[in-house]
């Protein structure tokens, strides 16, 4: 390096023309400003990058949160739908259960009705299946014992002038108690006079007595009362009369005496059937 160059480089002995110096200084100033600006720009750039990173992270977080919210909303919707479905199913189940209960109750009623009808059919069938007075009497007793559950009872027929009731058939009553009864104001006499059955609906029919029978049923033939059946006591396990018993009493009242009278007439006719001429003038 020359001496001149050295002194120029150190700046101590600046021998360059003043305008060049000025230009150099301006350049240096501009350069320095540019460098400063660049530095600032880099700083800003770095800051912006950091900020962008932060924003991206926040964005990701927000997106994740948003999708979680949507999933949550979907889940809540689904729960609502399922709750609604559950309520509907429960309500339908309750309806079905109510229908089923109604159906069971109805089926039970039908079965009970069927059983009652079977009882009545069997009783009626039995009453008319014999044409001997003894056979009919035995069947009346069967109905009373087996279907009604009577333990002590007596069937009375009224005498010709209607003043006395004569025992015809009985069960569970000592011989000395089987006496002809006067048609008076007793329970039996009243039923004979009015033709209306007496049935103790409140008390325990197994605890009836000879004086206070549990049931007295009038026996009719052609709408005329011709006797009564008095039930003095039922079997111990029979603690009350049921609907079927009332039906059986009605059936006995209307059929027992008629069957007995028919059998007696048939016996009197020496079991000879009437000739065809007996049926020709029926005008039906």
């Amino acid at each position: 390096m020359s001496k001149e160059q050295k002194s120029h480089g150190s700046g101590k002995a600046d021998s360059s023309p003043p305008d060049l110096r000025k230009e150099r200084d301006q350049f240096l100033q501009t350069f320095s400003k540019g460098a400063k600006l660049t530095e600032e720009f880099i700083k800003d750039y770095e800051q912006m990058q950091r900020r962008m990173g932060e924003l991206e992270a926040e964005n990701t977080r927000l997106r994740a949160s948003l999708s979680a919210d949507t999933a949550m909303r979907d889940l809540m919707d689904k729960i609502d739908r399922l709750e609604h479905e559950k309520r509907e199913l429960l309500s339908r189940y309750r309806e079905a259960q109510a229908v089923s209960t109604q159906f069971s109750a109805r089926a039970e009623e039908v079965e009970s009705e069927f059983a009652n009808l079977a009882n009545l059919f069997v009783a009626s069938n039995q009453l008319h299946s014999s044409m001997s007075p003894r056979g009919v009497t035995r069947r009346i007793k069967e109905v009373l014992a087996q279907l009604v559950g009577a333990e002590r009872y007596c069937m009375y027929l009224v005498n010709a002038d209607g003043s006395e009731l004569v025992p015809i058939a009985s069960e569970g009553i000592a011989g000395d108690k089987l006496i002809t009864l006067r048609v008076d104001n007793s329970r039996v006499g009243e039923v004979l006079r009015t033709g209306i059955a007496y049935v103790d609906e409140e008390g325990d029919p197994s605890r009836g007595t000879l004086e206070q029978p549990s049931a007295v049923v009038p026996l009719s033939v052609d709408e005329k009362v011709v006797g009564v059946i008095a039930i003095f006591a039922t079997l111990a396990q029979k603690r009350k009369f049921f609907t079927i018993d009332f039906e059986l009493f009605k059936l006995l009242g209307q059929h027992a005496a008629a069957a007995l009278v028919a059998a007696s007439l048939f016996a009197q006719a020496e079991r000879k059937l009437p000739g065809l001429e007996a049926f020709l003038d029926l005008s039906v």
Partner: protein, 125 residues
């Protein structure tokens, strides 16, 4: 579908008829009637029955003797027996159950009770 057979042993024709009516409500149940214990044993010797329904008070051979005989019969020793009787006391019930009866129903019978008992013993729905 399984078919079941039932033997009714009862001396009263009316009760037999009533029991036949009642048991006709049990699906696939074939019913045979016998009018006393001896007739019942005769029928048990000639066929196999899934259930026996018997009265107690019968002429010739009563229901309790029939239960005893059935329990010693190798073919029917495990066959369910339903007693139907007018005897309602606890002692009568105990005696019948001790002899080997499976159920005890007192008269007057309620058909639904007889049906339910037979179904239960035959394990029918």
């Amino acid at each position: 579908m399984a078919e079941y057979s039932c033997l009714i042993v009862e001396d009263s024709p009316m009760m037999r008829q009533l029991l036949v009516f009642a048991l006709a409500r049990v699906k696939n149940l074939r019913v045979t009637e016998a009018d006393d214990g001896v007739d019942g044993l005769r029928k048990l010797a000639s066929a196999r029955y899934d259930i026996i329904v018997t009265d107690i008070n019968m002429p010739i051979m009563d229901g309790l003797k029939l239960v005893k005989r059935v329990r010693s019969d190798p073919v029917h020793k495990d066959t369910p027996i339903v007693i139907i009787t007018t005897e309602g006391s606890q002692e009568d019930r105990q005696r019948a159950l001790q002899l080997g009866a499976n159920a005890y129903i007192t008269k007057p019978i309620q058909a639904p009770q007889v049906i339910a008992t037979v179904k239960e013993l035959l394990k029918i729905d």
